[in-house]
């Protein structure tokens, strides 16, 4: 089986091999259990556990005290990173809008300041590009998932 995951902006391709009950990748083996865990066998003979849960398209994996959030990419689909629209991951209020439509922006540039969960947050451009639409103004309340600005990537 082949799967593609995105972790921390990088894309990883995983090709699984299997024996009847054990799966292998990168020399490590895993045996799935019915309680949401997998028994992990390292190449060097030591063992460990992984806990998994899927929320939306994301697999949350706990292993050796750490969490890995692996977004599953549909096989064959293009890298669907949605650079175009910057969305609000939580509800809040727009405090400041620092760019306007038509403006060129650089990766890392702050485009908007939001207040959410009692804190100020800034929305930053992930790539160089051009702002095409600004969907909200200062003072507007935004819902989780709302697209705040559209940015067209520079080629």
């Amino acid at each position: 089986m082949e799967h593609e995951f995105r972790y921390n902006g990088e894309t990883y391709e995983v090709v699984l091999e299997r024996t009847p009950r054990i799966w292998t990748y990168a020399q490590h083996c895993a045996h799935p259990r019915e309680d949401g865990r997998l028994r992990i066998y390292f190449e060097n003979g030591t063992k460990a556990w992984a806990h998994v849960a899927k929320v939306g398209d994301v697999w949350w994996v706990h292993h050796c005290g750490r969490i890995y959030t692996l977004e599953r990419l549909e096989a064959g689909a293009s890298s669907n990173e949605q650079h175009g629209g910057l969305v609000a991951p939580m509800p809040g209020v727009v405090l400041e809008v620092l760019v306007s439509a038509g403006e060129s922006v650089e990766a890392g540039q702050t485009l908007m300041v939001l207040e959410a969960m009692k804190m100020e947050h800034r929305i930053v451009a992930s790539d160089n590009g051009t702002v095409t639409v600004v969907h909200f103004s200062a003072g507007d309340r935004v819902e989780q998932g709302a697209t705040l600005l559209d940015v067209e990537d520079a080629e």
Binding site: Y25, A26, A53, W59, V61, G65
Partner: protein, 501 residues
């Protein structure tokens, strides 16, 4: 005699208080906002009342509605927990005016300690040392900024700007050089105004590498006022405590006695009755300075309970009922550490996170205590403080407590919502934490460019393997994952270092 307690709070502290009521044989009432309808704390009460409205002003800050709920349900006392209305003198007064018992100190004591300036004056009179600093009384922007510049000249850099009416790190700014003063002062004033409706700030000398050490006190209505030793809470991110312990690693019996006596003097100066905490900065040379007094139970009270054997919430109930406190001679034994589990992304400037608690599996075993208000299946929402739980360990020595905390954090599995567990685990391996040489700006010094987590390739491979196997074998069908959440994957959010109420 108190018979029925209304707990005017939510989450873990409401659970903590409601359980104490149950054990004390008191019946209890919870109040809850609509979005807490499924909250665990509501289930621990004998009765519950909905506070209608969408904002905390309409719900948990709505003193009138809460007093009405108490009267409706026959409650004869109100416990405020911490946060929300716990340090609002006018609410305490209103509770008493309604003929109910207020489980806390007098409105006068709350008021005197609530204003940093008046507290400072009272402490000076009581002979408690305070940090050199200047109060900016000017409210007008231009005049205030002038006064701040003058005060900064006087105290020198680095300095700290604090909201006069503030608390919890809001309206607080560190200014390292003159260049940063203008912007920092404006931000502090803006936040203070937004948070407390009062833009006044206070300029004080920043003591470098100092420790935050606080003394727990208890005073009853029979004239007994004692201290229960100290807690060290130096490890803070954005001025919020994340790692707290008792005793303080650098404490000596004589220093404890001096700080304890200063705290008792502070409490007596305002005729304090109940549980309270006097916070100090402790400098390298063992000199200490009054910071503020919290006139309520504190988030980190469990570490004191673990090393003293005292049940602080139970004592609050007893004292409010007019009984003498049931605490014998102070007997501090062993070591306790608490970490605060936040739903937040430590790798992105501690941005609060939301999502479902698809898996919430706390560690167990001897010497481990978990104070929480959530459980698997709950949803972490943006409506309230992102603290999910307090993980507390006890062991005979500090060294063993830290070993136990490592084990506990390694076993703590939370999936579906980003938490600071990994960050807390890394803290346990920081040399300053191991040696006990912690100080208030340590996290900023450790991670000048922000905390990062770089996975080992081997572990990332295992994670990829696990996700791939889970996907292939349909393990997602085993759990009814809550509604889709973006998690913190490729989030365009970066938080700024400013906070709102």
């Amino acid at each position: 005699m108190i018979q029925r307690v209304l707990v005017a709070n939510r989450g873990e502290i409401a659970c903590r208080v409601l359980r104490a009521c149950r054990e004390a044989g008191l019946s209890s009432v919870a109040v809850y906002a609509e979005n807490d309808r499924l909250g665990m704390f509501k289930e621990l009460a004998d009765d519950s009342v909905l506070l209608e409205g969408d904002t905390i002003a309409e719900t948990y800050l709505n003193g009138a509605a809460i007093i009405e709920a108490a009267q409706q349900t026959g409650a004869d006392a109100i416990h405020p927990g911490f946060g929300f209305l716990s340090e609002r003198a006018e609410f305490a007064q209103a509770v008493m005016d309604a003929g109910l018992v207020w489980i806390g100190p007098s409105p006068q004591a709350i008021e005197q300690m609530g204003d940093k300036m008046s507290a400072r004056q009272i402490m000076k009179r009581a002979g408690v040392p305070v940090i050199p600093g200047v109060e900016i009384e000017e409210e007008d922007e231009t005049h205030a900024m002038q006064a701040i510049r003058a005060a900064a000249q006087e105290t020198g850099y680095p300095l700290l700007l604090k909201a006069t009416a503030g608390g919890g790190g809001k309206g607080m700014r560190v200014v390292h050089t003159q260049d940063e003063l203008e912007q920092g002062a404006q931000a502090a004033r803006r936040e203070a105004l937004a948070a407390f409706g009062d833009g006044r700030v206070y300029v004080e000398k920043l003591l470098m590498k100092s420790k935050h050490v606080e003394i727990q006190i208890l005073a009853d209505a029979h004239g007994r006022c004692i201290h229960l030793g100290e807690r060290e809470c130096s490890v803070q991110r954005r001025h919020q405590k994340v790692f707290e312990e008792a005793p303080c690693s650098s404490m000596t019996p004589s220093l404890r006695e001096r700080m304890g006596q200063a705290a008792v003097a502070a409490a007596k100066a305002v005729d304090y009755v109940g549980a309270g905490t006097v916070e100090f900065l402790l400098a390298d040379d063992q000199s200490f300075y009054f910071l503020e007094m919290n006139t309520r139970i504190q988030v980190e009270h469990p570490v004191t309970e673990m090393v003293t054997g005292v049940d602080l919430v139970r004592e609050q109930l007893r004292i409010a009922d007019g009984q003498p406190m049931a605490v014998d001679e102070l007997n501090i034994r062993g070591h306790s550490i608490e970490v605060r589990l936040y739903a937040e992304d430590a790798t992105n400037n501690f941005l609060p996170a939301i999502g479902p608690l698809a898996v919430f599996r706390p560690p167990v075993g001897p010497g481990i205590r978990l104070d929480t208000g959530v459980r698997e299946g709950d949803e972490v929402t943006p409506h309230y403080d992102p603290m999910l739980a307090k993980l507390i360990v006890f062991a005979p020595t500090r060294h063993e407590a830290l070993q136990r905390m490592r084990r506990a954090l390694d076993e703590f599995v939370v999936l579906g919502t980003t938490t600071n567990i990994g960050f807390l685990r890394d803290l346990c391996d920081v040399p300053e934490v191991i040696s006990g040489d912690t100080y208030t700006s340590m996290i900023d010094d450790l991670y000048p460019d922000g905390y990062k987590f770089v996975p080992k390739q081997e572990h990332l491979d295992v994670a990829l393997l696990s996700a791939a196997v889970a996907e292939t074998t349909g393990m997602h069908r085993l759990r009814t994952a809550a509604k889709q959440s973006s998690g913190n994957v490729a989030s365009p959010f970066q938080s700024l270092n400013r906070r709102y109420p």
